[in-house]
Every structure is written in C-alpha cells, then in structure tokens.
C-alpha cells in the first residue's frame, strides 16, 4: 500500500473515532496554527502608526503560502462576537526572516473592523485568514523608473512594495491631510535620507486636494515612469483620465480599495443568483414569499423566524429584519432568515 493510501485509511479511522466531529475539531484545541488546519493567524503585536492607524503583526498558520508585494489578504475578525471579514494590504516585505506578516489599518469613521483592529485588538488573538491575492504587484523585470502615487491608507500596498524591492529611481507622491497623518512617515524620511526615495508630501488640509495636472511640476518625467497608484476613487479616476489623455495608460497600475457602496432603501430588485431570476420586491414582503412568488424553490419552515429552516446566503446588497428593523449587509458567510427579512435595496440571494 502506498503511503498516501495508508494515510487516508488512518484518517478515515480517526474520523470514525471522533464522529460526528472531525479530527480537526480536536486538533484545533491544541494547535490551531498547525499545517493542514483552516488558515488562521495569531496577532502578535499592534504598533500604532498615527493617531488612527496601526500596524498589526500576524504570525500566519503553517499553511500560509506567502505573498507578492502589493497584494492584500482577507482577514476574519470577531468583533463583539460577530465574525467580520475585511481585506487589507500586506505591508511587510516578502522575505521577512521571522515569518510574520503585517497589515496596516487606518480606522475609518464607523468602521467596525478597522476601529477594532486599531484600538482594541490584543496580542494573542486568533484571526482567520485567506491566502493573499490581488494583481496590484510589481513586474518580474525591474522598470528603470518608478512612480508611486498614493493617498491616505492607499500607501499600504505601496509600502509593501517599497520594503520588498529596491529600485534605482523611485519617486513617491503621497497625499494626507496633515504631516502627522502620513502613515510610515519616519520610515519614508529615512529612505529619503538614504537617497533611496524621492518623496513629495501633499498636505491636503493646507495644499488642497491634489490636482493631477500638478504632476508635471511635481514629477516632470511622470509619463516615462511605471506608476502604481492607490487611494480614494477621485484620485484614481483623475489619474486614469490623465494617463489616457497622455497616451500612456499602460504605465498606470491602480488598486481600488473601497468596495461598492451598498445602497440601502425600502425594497429593491432581488436577484436569485442560482436560478437566475430577478424580481422587484417591496420593503415589507419577506424574501421567502418574494422567492416563492418568482417560482424559486426556497427552503422554508415555520415562516415566523423561530425554526431557522429558511436560512440562505445573502451574496450582495442589504436586507431588513422585519421584526427589529435591523439592516444586514452582504459579506462573505452571511446567512439570513428569508422568512423574516425583506429587501432593503437591491440584493442577491443564493437560490
């Protein structure tokens, strides 16, 4: 018998021993970061960067495959007991000796996860991880000249690049409201002192929002540079237009952070993505009835919110709990009770 066959038999036997649980349920008690476990990480330190940003040092589990500079990772954090998933750029270099990785998080107003990570996260906490992803990365062959154009927390993926790969000629234009809002300011200035970086800080509280036409003055040879830009939509839209108008759109690489904003309202267009049906729903009809009305086979039970027989993934949009008025927005892993939920804006139900 081959060793794989042996191992799978041994695993089968273990499963019989632990039934109805899985062996991993017991192994997780002892070693949640072991190879073969669901991918998790442990927060080992939280370093403040600015008044509202902090770097989180994470030791990923043994299954971590590593990342490419500029990529982001989705992390699942329990905030007030509820697991929430968010994506953050990795700010650590890819060759960090101790195997840790870092993300740098800026607390956004009313941001549940960002505020939790910046202000309340404690070393020792386990978080859930996905493998790193994203194509906002550096090319294999080094470009001669590089421009990094960033604003606010848009600096985070670029910092991952700066720390990972040295170029002969790098210029950075970074926007932040005030000097003390510039994340990684000291490190950036050290790079400047070592002549590894030319930096222009735009302080929007005093200078106003960066007018993209000013690039000619700030970085005269910008059109010759391979450019990576990350920041708010306004800046990126302006950059895209600017680069296109000058006939060099292929030099511009951008990363858009903010996911599409969920529009909440009273009722909306409901899509049942598995069956491909779309119908208009008002804000008072349970989605179970909406689905059945559209001829979708919906799981159902008591129809009064007590039996949990109708729970179904909410893929996109928002719904309102008809009993409490509470709004639930789509996030990975969010399941809703269709019998007591109504559309609160356009939404997508997996059925």
């Amino acid at each position: 018998m081959t060793s794989t066959a042996l191992r799978s038999r041994a695993w089968k036997l273990l499963e019989m021993v632990t039934t109805p649980l899985l062996p991993s349920d017991y192994l997780d008690l002892v070693s949640p970061l072991r190879a073969g476990a669901d991918l998790r990480g442990r927060i080992e330190a939280v370093h403040p960067e600015t008044g509202d940003a902090a770097t989180i040092v994470i030791r990923p589990g043994r299954g971590w495959r590593g990342h490419t500079a500029g990529q982001y990772v989705r992390i699942g954090v329990d905030v007030d007991g509820v697991r929430l998933w968010r994506a953050y750029s990795l700010t650590s270099p890819t060759n960090r000796q101790d195997g840790r990785v870092t993300i740098t998080v800026k607390a956004i107003p009313d941001g549940k996860v960002s505020n939790h990570l910046v202000r309340r996260a404690k070393p020792g906490t386990l978080i859930h991880l996905d493998h790193p992803t994203g194509d906002f990365v550096l090319p294999k062959t080094k470009p001669a000249k590089v421009l990094y154009l960033t604003a606010g927390s848009g600096i985070t993926p670029v910092m991952g690049m700066l720390r990972d790969t040295e170029f002969d000629d790098v210029v950075m234009v970074h926007c932040a409201p005030q000097p003390h809002d510039v994340i990684f300011r000291k490190e950036l200035h050290d790079l400047v002192a070592d002549k590894k970086l030319q930096l222009t800080e735009v302080h929007t509280d005093t200078d106003g929002i960066l007018d993209i036409a000013r690039l000619d003055e700030l970085v005269p040879d910008w059109a010759e540079r391979e450019t990576w830009a990350c920041g708010p939509a306004g800046l990126l839209d302006a950059a895209e237009k600017h680069w296109s108008e000058h006939g060099v759109p292929e030099r511009l690489h951008i990363e858009r952070f903010r996911p599409s904003i969920v529009v909440t309202g009273d009722g909306g267009e409901v899509t049942f993505s598995t069956t491909g049906k779309t119908v208009d729903a008002d804000g008072a009809t349970p989605l179970l009835d909406v689905g059945e009305g559209a001829g979708v086979l919906m799981p159902s039970g008591c129809r009064m919110g007590i039996c949990f027989g109708c729970v179904t993934p909410l893929k996109a949009g928002a719904v309102r709990d008809l009993r409490t008025g509470e709004i639930t927005e789509a996030e990975p892993g969010v399941l809703i009770q269709t019998c007591v939920s109504a559309a609160a804006g356009p939404c997508d139900i997996e059925r």
């Binding site: 036997l13 019989m16 021993v17 039934t19 109805p20 649980l21 349920d25 017991y26 008690l29 329990d78 007030d80 007991g81 509820v82 697991r83 929430l84 039970g301 008591c302 009064m304 919110g305 007590i306 039996c307 949990f308 027989g309 729970v311 009993r323 409490t324 996030e331 892993g333 969010v334 399941l335 009770q337």
Partner: protein, 378 residues
C-alpha cells in the same frame, strides 16, 4: 385537563400588550448580545471536547474499576453537554449571529443518532411552532402516550408507563424514530415514499456511525479493556438518555401545563402565540449547575418564548418573564427536578387509564379530539 381557562381573565388588548412587553425583553437581549456570549459558547464547546477526549482516554484503561467509574462519569457528562447546552441550542440557531460557520445551525452535527437536519424539522419547526396543540405537536406524549385528558383513551395506553420507561432508556433512538414519524410512515404505501426512504437511510447511516464509534472502534482501541469500555459507553449513553428524557418530560408534561385544541390557533396573533408558549411550558428550579446540565431547558418557558436567544441569557430573562406572569396573573409552573419528574410520571401513569367520569358541572374547555394512537418510539 383544565376545567377553567387560566387565561380567561385577559382581554385581547392585554394579550397584545403582553406580546409587546415580551418583544421588548427579546430586543434588549439582542441589542446587548456580543463578545461575552460568544466567549461563553466557545468555552463550553472546548470544555466539552476536552472532557470527552480525557474521558475516552481514561476508558482505554477501564479494565481498572476506578478508571471505569471516572471515564464513564466523564463521558456521560460530556454527552449530556453535547446534546443539551451545545447541540440543542446551536441547532436552534441561537449562535448563528456569530457568523462562525463552525458553530452554526446549518452545519452543526451532534453526538446523537438523529441527524441534525431531521431533528431541526420535527423539533424547531413542528414542536416549537405548534407547542402543545393536540394533533399538531407530536411532543405531546411523543405520539405513543396520552398525556392529557383531552386525548382519546385507547387500551394501548395501558402500557404507557412501560413505553415511557423504555423510551427514556433508548431516548436517542426514540427521537430518531419520532423525527421519521415512523408510526405514520410504516404503513405499506408511505413506506415506499422516496422522501421517507431517503430520510430513513440517513438515520441508518447516522446510527451505523454512532454504533461503530461507541461500541466497536473505541472498545477495540482499548484492547484488553474492550468489554469494560463497551459497558462504559453503553452506560454513558443510557445516563444521557435517561437524563435528557427526564428534563424534556419536565418541559411540557407536569401538572399545570395547558394543551390547546387545533382550531384555537387559527389566526393566532403574536400575543396569543406568546401566551400559548407561556401556558404550555414548565420550568425546573435549581442551581446554576443544574441549569447548565439541562442545557438551560430548565428555563423551558423562556426557551419557548425566545427559542433563538442564546441559552446563557435565559436565567436573566426568566426574572423579567416571571414578573410578567405575575403582572398578568398567570401561573408560572416550576419546581425542583424531582418534583417535576414525579409530576410528569404521575400524569403518564394516571392517563394510562381512561378518564374518571367528570362531575356534571365540570366541563373540559378543550373537547376531546379523535386521534389514533401512534407507535413511533422504541
């Protein structure tokens, strides 16, 4: 049987007001639900797993009597925790709000021969929606017993103290049979129904896995302790079965609990639904440990009012609920475990005989319904 409707003094407006007050209690808990509650269920789950692991480990040496006793006791408690505080409550969706796919009503499987999804249908959907409605709620005597005067007597019921005893010993199989509605489905025509066959197959698979684990694999792993380990697991299952049967009997069978006729729930309002849950359930009083070991089903009344609130909150909710019972002059049925178990058994024994002829001025509020006895368990 109740000669007088104990809710007759309430006006329709009062009943709706009661409903609003209960909704407010529920909303308060939901608004406050958070990190502490999540930490609680995680702690209970890891404690259960650790206890089970250690007990199974000790049982490897169960050829030595002290190891047998210790391992059997530990495994019994672990199995009770798995079924009651953890399994029952997770399968009610009490912890779905955490969005942890591992502690979720759609993914949880328990150490029990009834597959979780089948139990969820018969328990969450049928029993909790139609609590104590004769002919709709099979929990009323599990379809094999007569537990209210308004249920029709049949000579079959003479044996119900014995059925109940056997059901207690093999409760998990009783539940599996109950979830399959075996009594109804074993006739020739229904037996062939593909949907029933698929469900029966799933139960068969689950039983096979459970039996293989408890009565073959673990004893074999124990080597020379094969027989003691086998006996230990059997004992642990028996203890768990008798315990959960007793607790569950106390939920709806003790004296003072009301039953309802089928037509009384037509067009039931939210307030009326709440009132039915209040009058159809009974609590068990006792220590914190007692509440924990019953999976907080000792707070059966609160559980029936709010089946999806986290179980660790029932104790605090009970104070407010009890105050409402007093405010609306309703009878909050509760008592210590021995008293409630005795009361429930007394009812089972008493109703194994036909009703005593009633006095002329005493008329049942609920007319007797024609109903065939069903054998679903054992």
């Amino acid at each position: 049987m109740t000669a007088i409707d104990p809710t007759a003094h309430l006006t329709a407006e009062q009943i709706e007001e009661l409903g609003r007050e209960l909704d407010a209690i529920r909303d308060e808990v939901i608004a406050d639900r958070g990190e502490k509650d999540a930490a609680y269920i995680r702690k209970v789950i890891s404690a259960q797993r650790t206890l089970e692991l250690v007990s199974r480990g000790v049982l490897l040496f169960s050829i030595f009597p002290p190891a047998w006793v210790l391992g059997t006791a530990g495994l019994s408690v672990a199995k009770i925790m798995d079924n009651m505080e953890i399994g029952h409550n997770i399968l009610h969706g009490q912890w779905d709000w955490m969005r942890d796919p591992k502690i979720h009503s759609t993914t949880w499987e328990w150490d029990h021969v009834s597959p979780a999804d089948q139990w969820k249908h018969s328990h969450n959907e049928l029993h909790h929606t139609y609590t104590n409605v004769i002919g709709k709620d099979n929990d009323l005597g599990y379809g094999i017993m007569r537990v209210d005067e308004d249920q029709k007597w049949h000579p079959f019921h003479l044996g119900q103290p014995l059925w109940n005893f056997l059901n207690a010993c093999f409760f998990e199989y009783g539940i599996a049979a109950y979830d399959l509605e075996l009594g109804k489905n074993l006739n020739k025509r229904r037996r062939k129904n593909p949907e029933f066959r698929a469900r029966a197959k799933a139960v068969g698979r689950k039983i096979r896995k459970q039996v293989l684990k408890d009565y073959v694999i673990h004893p074999l792993l124990s080597g020379p302790s094969f027989l003691p380990t086998l006996a230990a697991t059997f004992t642990a299952n028996l203890v768990r079965n008798v315990w959960s049967h007793s607790v569950i009997m106390c939920g709806h069978f003790p004296e003072g609990v009301q039953v309802f006729e089928r037509r009384s729930i037509k067009g039931e309002t939210r307030g009326q639904w709440y009132l039915r849950q209040m009058m159809g359930s009974a609590n068990i009083s006792g220590s914190k440990a007692m509440h924990f070991m019953t999976g907080n089903l000792s707070h059966q009344i609160e559980h029936h009012l709010f089946p999806d609130l986290p179980s660790n909150r029932y104790a605090e909710v009970a104070v407010k609920v009890r105050a409402l019972f007093e405010k609306y002059e309703l009878d909050y049925v509760t008592g210590p475990l021995p008293k409630q178990v005795f009361s429930a058994w007394h009812r089972v024994v008493r109703l194994s005989l036909p009703n005593k002829p009633s006095k002329p001025n005493e008329k049942p509020t609920v007319p007797a319904l024609e109903r065939e006895p069903e054998l679903v368990a054992v």
